[in-house]
Amino acid sequence: MIKLTSTEDVKVGMILGAPLVNQYGQILINSGAEIEERHLELLDKWGIRYLSILQEDAGGGEAPVDENQVQEAEGRLGERMKWKPRNQFEEDLVQMAMKKMTQYQ
């Protein structure tokens, strides 16, 4: 999971979960980079206030979902979503909808 983190709370050793780019799209620090002391100085110099930091999942897994609940969610989603996913991001949107309907009701 990626968490938007204030640079004040960013510590050496944390992992960047997304590339840090400037307004022109140039990559300043690559995704997956481990934060070093020099990065903290640069972030301060560049005036960066937030970073996307990779976080370990809390563990323990998610609560098991009942099969009827899944079927009901698929039915409702079919009524609201009239298109088919064409790539991994759209597939992830569908999964997000399923997660919402089965775990956040």
Binding site: A18, R49, D92, L93
Partner: protein
């Protein structure tokens, strides 16, 4: 008189944005303005100061409980973000007292818009944009055209909402059918009237396309996807409960990591609930 003419002829009767917002905009054009100068302007409005501090301390901005003064809020969030919070609070306040039309209530409208603001900002962060100042505000204001319909054409808009229900079509399509004008166009009229910055105006007018004409724009693309995310997560109500199909080209603009949406669910819900509590409840 068409709806468009009706709105244009009456838009001047809408309240203007509060003096504090204009004073902030003006002062920020002065290169020698200091943090204290800006803090002083905000502090003249006690209600605004109080809410700005509450929002600045929300987990959404990552400084929970540590910002005690407006000066510190400006130091941590920057001039523009604080000005954007003032603008978001002002606009929500201006339009929150409207009565509901059919099943469409202003509080649900704002909850949807806050959801879009939070999702757009998180998407911007995932893409790795270092300057996220306008993302939350653009999301908050993206559907503002719908409020013009509620304000100046509520009878006609009732009919639009009935058509949405009957035909199960997107609200934008029903607006075109019943009013001859859709909410992005109406929103553009309001953005002009309020002289909102071009970046925000682009997000209001182009959030269904995700592009400005054929030009890629990270903010507009993020709001385009943020709108879909807010609907998927059933945050508030935008006038219909359909989930629009993304413009496939936005995925080429937004360089997202793998599984960005399922990965953001928990944090998104937490930020949303907290922010709705701060902005919509007194």
């Amino acid at each position: 008189m068409s709806i468009s003419e009706k709105i244009k002829s009456r838009i001047h009767t809408l309240p203007t944005l509060p003096t504090i917002y204009h004073k902030l905009t003006e002062s920020m054009q002065n290169p020698r303005v200091t943090t204290e100068d800006v803090a002083k302007i905000i502090s003249t409005d006690q209600a605004a100061s109080f809410k700005v501090l509450k929002v600045a301390n929300s987990p959404f901005y990552g400084f929970s409980g540590r910002i005690e003064t407006i000066t510190r809020a400006i130091l941590h969030l920057g001039f523009n973000e604080v000005k954007n919070i003032v603008l978001a609070l002002s606009v929500i306040n201006l339009f929150s007292k409207h009565k509901k039309v059919e099943t469409f209530r202003p509080v649900d409208f704002w909850a949807h818009s806050i959801g879009v603001g939070i999702a757009s900002r998180m998407i911007g962060a995932y893409v790795g944009i270092s300057n996220l100042e306008n993302f939350f505000l653009a999301g908050i204001l993206h559907d503002i055209g719908k409020l013009l319909f509620l304000e100046f054409a509520d009878d006609e808009y009732s009919e639009t909402l009935r058509v949405v229900k009957e035909k199960k079509i997107p609200i934008r399509q029903a607006e075109k059918e019943t009013l001859g004008l859709d909410h992005p166009e109406a929103g553009r009229l309001l953005a002009d009237r309020w002289k909102l910055p071009l970046t925000i105006k682009n997000a209001i007018y182009n959030h269904h396309e995700g592009f400005v004409g054929d030009k890629p724009d990270l903010l507009v693309a993020s709001v385009h996807v943020g709108n879909i995310v807010s609907r998927i997560m059933e945050m508030g109500y935008a006038g219909d409960d359909l989930i629009p199909e993304p413009n496939e080209k936005v995925w080429g603009v937004l360089n997202l990591p793998e599984q960005p949406f399922t990965g953001m669910v928990d944090e998104l819900m937490q930020n949303y609930e907290e922010t709705v509590g701060l902005l919509l409840r007194d």
